[in-house]
């Protein structure tokens, strides 16, 4: 991730609330035009990091530059060139779609003609021309998020921070929103997105995983999947499909050559030693399940994060 210029550069950034360290000496770089997916469990410090990068929360120590602006020394400077969409719906519910856009346009001091042009472009982008006069509070979840996105984009920011933009909206709206985000990335906007959804993470160009305030891993998805911690040397990943995976799980777990078993819906993901064949695995569960099949698979991001979290908590408890 060194080919494109770096637009977010975080160095040893920490934030404490009282005795609790929410972001712990975190460092990361994000290149221009990336779609950076930032993952981690609730309370792991995702929102706190975004707030510091947007210049609305002062770090306890460390530094960060966004688009070349130092967000610690001069938090106001960066605000002209970034957009932010918070976790919670934070537009004015009693203003119409158009009035919300007008308001943010004026806040950024857009000239009248520019504002009119941007408004029309954004209403095109989010397909909301028909809702112009509707009050923002009466829109449904997905449309609210689209409007929030439009408001965050009114001043043509080069960098967009989105804090769980798809939390609580339906799958179709979720997919539509991501299509929009990729369209923006295609126009050169850098996106920094937090999410809980693995399928969203899979679509990102770069992902970072934060756990208890520490960045555990950061890189392109394919780099992460190739990490030896995820699939140790001499092993491979196998997916076993069967009619009753939960009954099959205890039979496979701990059996010869099987390093790890995780239940994934109606399938089991296994980490097995190279010597163990598909047929050998299937033979072990033959008695309990029907419709058996097995195939080699690449690790998913979820496999990556599960493996890394386990290793990390083991290290933590050992230390």
């Amino acid at each position: 991730m060194t080919d494109a210029p770096v637009v977010i550069d975080v160095r040893q950034l920490s934030r404490r609330f009282g005795a609790k360290t929410v972001v712990d000496a975190l460092s990361l770089q994000v290149p221009q035009s990336a779609v950076f997916g930032f993952l981690g469990p609730n309370g792991s410090g995702k929102t706190t990091l975004i707030r510091m990068l947007c210049g609305v929360l002062r770090p306890t120590s460390g530094g960060a530059t966004v688009l070349g602006c130092d967000v610690v020394a001069d938090p106001e400077k960066v605000k002209r060139s970034i957009g932010y969409m918070s976790q919670k719906f934070s537009l004015y519910a009693d203003l119409s779609v158009e009035e919300n856009l007008d308001f943010y346009g004026r806040i950024y001091g857009l000239p009248r003609a520019t504002l009119r042009r941007r408004k029309s472009e954004l209403l095109d982008l989010v397909a909301m021309h028909d809702f112009q006069r509707q009050l923002a509070g009466t829109l449904s979840g997905g449309w609210k998020q689209r409007l929030a996105l439009a408001c965050a984009l009114i001043h043509e920011p080069r960098m967009l921070f989105l804090d769980e933009p798809t939390a609580g909206i339906d799958p179709v709206a979720r997919r539509d929103l991501w299509d929009l985000l990729f369209e923006l990335a295609g126009r050169g906007v850098t996106l920094f997105v937090t999410t809980h959804y693995m399928d969203e993470a899979e679509r990102c160009t770069h992902v970072g995983y934060i756990h208890l305030g520490k960045l555990i891993v950061c890189g392109r998805p394919e780099q992460l999947k190739a990490m030896p911690e995820v699939t140790p040397a001499g092993t491979r990943r196998v997916e076993v499909r069967c009619s009753n995976p939960s009954a099959a799980l205890p039979l496979l777990r701990g059996s010869g050559g099987v390093r790890d078993v995780t239940l994934f819906g109606d399938a089991l993901h296994l980490v097995v030693e190279h010597a163990v064949t598909h047929d050998a695995l299937l033979a072990r569960v033959q008695g309990t399940c029907a419709h058996l099949s097995a195939q080699d698979i690449d690790p998913s991001l979820e496999d990556v994060f599960v493996a890394l979290s386990r290793r990390y908590s083991l290290k933590e408890s050992a230390a």
Partner: protein
């Protein structure tokens, strides 16, 4: 000043979308004024009185008549036993009980001192004081009348008027300025205008910032380049305009409903009203930046309202308050504005007469607005 216009237009839209704001600003104050203006009457008249006339002679009847004619007392019942007489006050039937002893006229005619007992319920000090003064005055008047008759009979007099009639040696001639009929409304209604202006503006603005904090829109605003001053002024100005129109409405009600004319210069009153509005709005804004929730903001606002009512001189004269409380009154902006309102409306006071109050109000205004802008940080913590 970044974003001033944007905030201003947005707040105007909020007001437009929420008609209850307008109702609160224009209708409620008029109601309040009618209630306060008509209900508060500090002159004490017609105090319920019970009379126990054990004498029942011409002299005793004359005394009772004089009592009734003073308009201070209203005889609600007559007592026939000593027990009834005492019980009248205990039961609350009357606030005053007058007992004329059986030997009243006998003593008078014998030129001896005749006593009349007056029981006064002292629990309401204002009523009691008035009753006390009226009863003493009544005794004096009756005594002087008898003394005059006696003096005439002796062909003697302490003093005589130019026509040669016997009269009192000292003649006090009070002249009531500005409010000759001593109507409470003249005193209360101008003060009420100040209080109403403060209530409405304080409550409107104390919610202005904290509401956005609760809704999460403030966080969104912090991420924009909006300036602190622009944000604060943008929040104040629309409410200042509302407050100003409201001032005109209540002044109109005062002049045409309560018949309290504005004797002074309206053109002086207007800018000073705006100064006060800005001060009250600054106070609301300060609350809004300190409070974390809307409920907290309302509690703060109530906390400020009470001293504004009681210590500003709106209801109770500040001169009779203990020294520290008296000085505390100067920390309350409405104290200065009440002086200005009463000065201009009732006494036709001019700029020169009001300088100390104007200065005090201006200081409050600058301090409050500066405090609320500097306290406000575009940071979440």
């Amino acid at each position: 000043m970044n974003g001033f216009l944007a905030i201003l237009l947005k707040e105007a839209s909020h007001i437009r979308r929420q008609p209850s704001t307008l109702f609160f600003t224009f209708i409620i104050p008029v109601f309040e004024m009618l209630i306060f203006g008509y209900a508060i009457d500090t002159s004490v008249e017609n105090t319920p009185t019970v009379v126990f006339d054990a004498c029942r002679t011409r002299e005793s009847r004359e005394l009772v008549e004089a009592l009734v004619n003073s308009r201070s007392f209203r005889v609600v019942a007559e007592a026939f036993t000593h027990h009834e007489y005492e019980h009248a006050v205990i039961s609350g039937q009357a606030k005053v009980a007058v007992a004329i002893p059986p030997d009243f006229s006998q003593k008078l005619l014998a030129q001896k001192e005749a006593s009349v007992q007056v029981l006064i319920d002292g629990s309401d000090s204002q009523v009691a004081t008035a009753a006390l003064h009226s009863s003493i005055l009544l005794g004096l008047n009756r005594s002087i009348a008898r003394a005059k008759v006696y003096a005439e009979a002796q062909q003697a007099a302490v003093a005589r008027d130019p026509a040669g009639r016997a009269t009192l040696p000292i003649d006090i001639r009070p002249r009531l300025l500005y409010n000759p009929n001593l109507e409470s409304a003249h005193f209360f209604v101008p003060g009420l205008i100040g209080i109403i202006m403060q209530v409405v503006t304080l409550f409107l603005t104390s919610l202005a910032v904290v509401r956005e904090r609760e809704a999460g829109t403030l966080e969104q605003l912090f991420v924009t380049p909006v300036g602190r001053v622009g944000l604060m002024l943008g929040k104040i100005v629309p409410y200042a305009v509302l407050g100003f129109v409201e001032t005109l409405v209540v002044l109109t009600v005062m002049v045409f409903v309560f018949q309290v004319p504005i004797r002074g210069d309206l053109l002086l009153l207007m800018p000073l009203s705006i100064l006060f509005l800005l001060t009250a709005l600054g106070m609301g804004l300060l609350i809004s930046t300190v409070a974390r929730t809307q409920l907290e903001a309302l509690q703060f606002a109530f906390m400020i309202m009470l001293p504004s009512f009681l210590l500003s001189g709106f209801v109770f004269p500040r001169e009779s308050m203990p020294e520290p409380i008296y000085w505390l009154g100067y920390a309350i902006p409405v104290t200065y504005f009440l002086e200005i309102l009463r000065g201009i409306i009732l006494r036709a006071a001019e700029w020169n007469d009001l300088v100390p109050h104007i200065r005090g109000l201006a200081v409050c205004c600058v301090v409050l607005l500066t405090l609320s802008v500097t306290r406000f940080r575009k940071q979440l913590d």
